[in-house]
Symmetry: D2
Subunit: 358 residues, 4 copies
């Protein structure tokens, strides 16, 4: 193992630069050369391949404290069926595999979510690439690992927003709605909601009913609490499975806008004033907090060790207070949703938070 | 002057509690009793009047570090023509004046924006109330004072959002749009845009053109900068005076949604990916930063001194590094917009920021 | 179980108010009355007993977002052998037990570290008090639980200091030393050091040698990195077991001042400029971050459930992603130091950090 | 003016990178080449001269959000009488002037405090260098300008520390002492003290008496406030002009350690527990806040404009809400201390803060 590559793939999050730095530092021990591929798989399709050589000046300093990924990333979808700038679809997989060969890499560390890991597993199988993956996702929905890079910081950003909203809610005796990311998994909403003192937490895993929310708000009035915080994940559904669709800027219908929809319903059925905040990408780009930096550092070291040992097709994972490795398939196939029986759901119930119909 | 009241009125912002604490502390010197009226003018319409007596345990400790106002506030509009819960309009002015008398106040400090000051000036004239006002507004649009409470913190919140958005913009080579508050005045957008490294700043005072924005983004590409930050105030207009109206949760049309509209236009006319964040009330409820706490403290002290001296109908103001007092009318009548010739507009231009047609 | 008490004991930390709020909320489900005892065991020695009744207005709002403990605490040592203001020692244990009886408590939740838990276990045995404990300590040294309240936030504060020091270190090509808390356990230093990009981490569990530090700094110079960050826990020792003692303000010799001592040594043996920061209690009083609020919330709920079930003499603990309960003795007797073989020590080594002689 | 240089000199602070970026952006308008000289005047003494060429990739992105200076700086004192690594003194002035000529600079922007400005004015006079200066200092002691780069952020860092200390002070009923920077000027202490809710603020400009402090603490007890915050600048003196000297790590006596000394005195004369935090360089290295970034941006633009106009030997300054320019001598000669009659001193008094004998 003399020359390894790193790439970041999918939506950016906090801690990617910390993982890259950790990989570089560890690789020095093995005297490996480290190549940073630009813009995820896209860099491998360029000719010449788009990359930079990593060295001490590049990765030391404050880089690892920064959000995002200095290598760039892409989430333009499946390279096996890639929609080009001209709107036509083509298969870029051979080109990516060729890019890896052109760089003469002995191994590649892919930092990505379940989608990216699935793609790179397929690429690795097809092109006999030596890959190891590091899970990152603000949604924390990758299976087989307790934590993925980026989640803890995303929660912290949402909590900070709730802290601000609390003050204005109380001052005006209003309900403040915070819409957070989470199309399928409600981990951000659940964690941020508990930490941020939410009275209502709506997550995709538990159907909600407007009446349930209103009942909760009315109960609070009895204790003379006339303000409330409501956290809602983008992808929540009613009992009938209805999501709330919104036309976005690019003309396509997508999830989202649910915050505004909820406000309409509450205003219609109560005399409570509502205001809505949509956090959006502020959740992704924050500086990594201590937990994400530690996780990213531990993951990076372990990933290099796997390559050094010739253990390929493995995903690093955090389990029981330490790093382990599992088959990439284990991470991909066990998509991790909020489990109704998990400890934090109990905590939310116990605190009197409305978290949907259960 | 033996007994004074305080109330906070209009939209909440950071620093109100610091002003209240400062008033209380200063009033001790004069051995004044201090009454905190709840929920702005609404408290004075209640019978019994809704208030609390302030004392050391209430106002010391960490209260003044908190956002919002622990006295509560209201922005339900003009009490001379007040829309009740039943939808009917009535004149509450006599009731408010009566409330003041029932409390046997010798003076009242009103912490509010230009709207609240106008109302209380009218009430004071009618009911012979002894008032002094302290300007607060996140928009910094009150005239005759360089700064009002809440503005500096609101800018800081927007800058923090831009810092986060920068990382994700750069990672994905996108344009990120941040919509901030500001219906008529663009101070938040201008200040946050410069401090947050925006490439485009749109403010209500300067009409914008989509083509101007796109030209700027294309110029950046020439320097191989493929990401950008765009800050837009709610109330921006095109050269033809068009604003962007949006149907809100409560069914009424209001300003806003401009961020999403801009994204549509940019996507339509370029190949640049866009994402939108709407900060909303997160700008209001933040903890006051050092500058707002200092300003609030200085204002509070001075306002009590004015009452003690029997100088009524005055607004405290920050001018030339110190507190002064002006006639309330001066604050109300000289609504302060961004001036095309002011120093920061020059700075924005000089940095190559697109800030509209000038 | 109709009436329960809460007290906080020992050094304050972030998350105590969140635990108190959680206990109150959960107790409502059981219709328990909740008493907050002031200043730890001291409140129970006062006559009348010093306490407040908790209710919704007291505990809702932004209280749980605040650092410290609004009930007050004491770390004046062993009440069985208590040094009074007059300097004389006496046994307050009967008075404390009597206080509990006077309040007619059916149960008591003690939020404290290992010292406080030990004392209250003894009191409970002697007075037949029904107690449950919640572990809190910025040092994270309580055994049988993966985390205690306050640790995660303390790490975050230290990391923020390192982020600041990095910038000034790099600008001036200096070594910056950060002294953090930790007399026996190095968890704060280890975690903050990895997250904050330290080049040297010194912890009480691993003896250090000045020469080891200097060797590391010289190696860095080879990579043209002329600045460095050194994190040192108060209680570090050399191979010969030497600690660094300092005369404090109160005239007693204590641990600490080690940062300054290290600087002297480095300056003496190299040409590197050094500066020292001593964080002190800034680590304790910070607002709880999301992780500490979640932990505190989950602990509070569970502790009330234990009382409700009549399970006394138990400590709540975090194990394997959820709350469990263990015998108080298990928490007390298994003091948790940094284990040379733990995952993070490996990570530190792998990143090339000097962490002492191993 | 075709080629200009920038250097940062003296202690680092927040906002230097923002100034550098602003200079670069503005210089593009004039099609100037911009050279960044490394490590202040030291870079000009090296052969070849130590510098980097600035370009868009170097200065765009998140650089300007970072603390410190990416060009490096030095505060090794007077180059006219420079102490080398060998301990011998020599005159480097000709070498520096030669460095400027070797780079074929048409102008040089010096970002520094009063010391650096004095040195560069002398160098400019001697070598006929075309210079313009930008004032930076966390102490805000440069005259002729209301603000210098770095001060506002330093205050914010100190306030954050006070916010943390407040919680722990209140929990334990202690006096917490925060020692901040400020050898001659007390602006940081005064501003941070007011914003952070200090009960005692000691600044070099106003002599203090231990008895005054103790009287204040005793008065607070009467209001049943048993905790307090004390902010002290390094360089405070008693009425007899006594400062508190401490032997530092490098063996030299310097100011400082005053916090610990005060604690000793308070403990000796009262029954109040005290703890001390020394912030140190954490005040310098923080990320610039919005105010410092705006100031730095405005200064940078204006400084380039001055060079472009051929106006040399000028210092940019902030006066009356905008940037102006003054003779460098005006900045140097009017060292700006806290004026007993200034508005904030009045505010501090009015709030009942003890700020020394006046």
């Amino acid at each position: 193992m003399r020359k390894i590559g790193i790439l970041t793939s999918g939506g950016d999050c906090a801690g990617l630069n910390a993982a890259i730095r950790s990989i570089f530092y560890r690789a020095q021990k093995y005297e490996m050369e480290v190549i940073g591929i630009k813009d995820g798989s896209l860099g491998l399709t360029k000719r010449p391949v788009d990359f930079i050589e990593l060295n001490y000046p590049t990765v030391s300093g404050s880089l690892f404290r920064e959000g995002g990924t200095f290598l760039g990333t892409t989430n333009r979808g499946d390279p096996f069926n890639f929609k080009g700038d001209d709107g036509k679809y083509s298969d870029l997989s051979d080109k990516i595999i060729e890019g890896y060969k052109l760089l003469k890499l002995d191994g590649l560390i892919v930092i990505g979510g379940d989608g990216s890991m699935k793609i790179f597993k397929k690429l690795a199988d097809r092109g006999k690439l030596n890959i190891v993956t590091i899970p990152k996702t603000i949604d924390n929905d990758v299976g087989a690992t307790e934590s993925s890079i980026g989640f803890n910081t995303a929660v912290a950003v949402a909590v900070e927003a709730l802290d601000n909203l609390q003050a204005t809610a109380a001052s005006h005796h209003r309900a403040m709605i915070l819409e957070v990311m989470g199309r399928d998994a409600g981990h951000i909403a659940l964690n941020a909601g508990i930490a941020g003192g939410a009275d209502v937490i709506l997550i995709p895993e538990l159907p909600y009913a407007i009446d349930g929310i209103i009942k909760k708000l009315n109960e609070m009035k009895k204790h003379n609490i006339r303000h409330s915080l409501i956290v809602v994940a983008e992808g929540v559904k009613t009992e009938n499975g209805e999501t709330y669709m919104n036309k976005y800027a690019d003309g396509e219908k997508r999830l989202g806008g649910i915050g505004d929809y909820l406000a309409t319903q509450i205003i219609k059925k109560t005399d409570i004033e509502c205001r809505v905040t949509t956090l959006g990408h502020v959740q992704r780009g924050a500086r990594p907090n201590a937990n994400d930096r530690i996780l990213a550092s531990a993951f990076g070291v372990y990933a290099v060790d796997l390559l050094a040992k010739g253990k390929f097709n493995r995903m690093v994972a955090w389990q029981n207070r330490g790093v382990v490795d599992v088959a990439i398939e284990d991470g991909i196939n066990t998509y991790k949703l909020v489990d109704q029986n998990e400890s934090l759901v109990d905590t939310a119930f116990a605190l009197g938070i409305y978290i949907g119909i259960t």
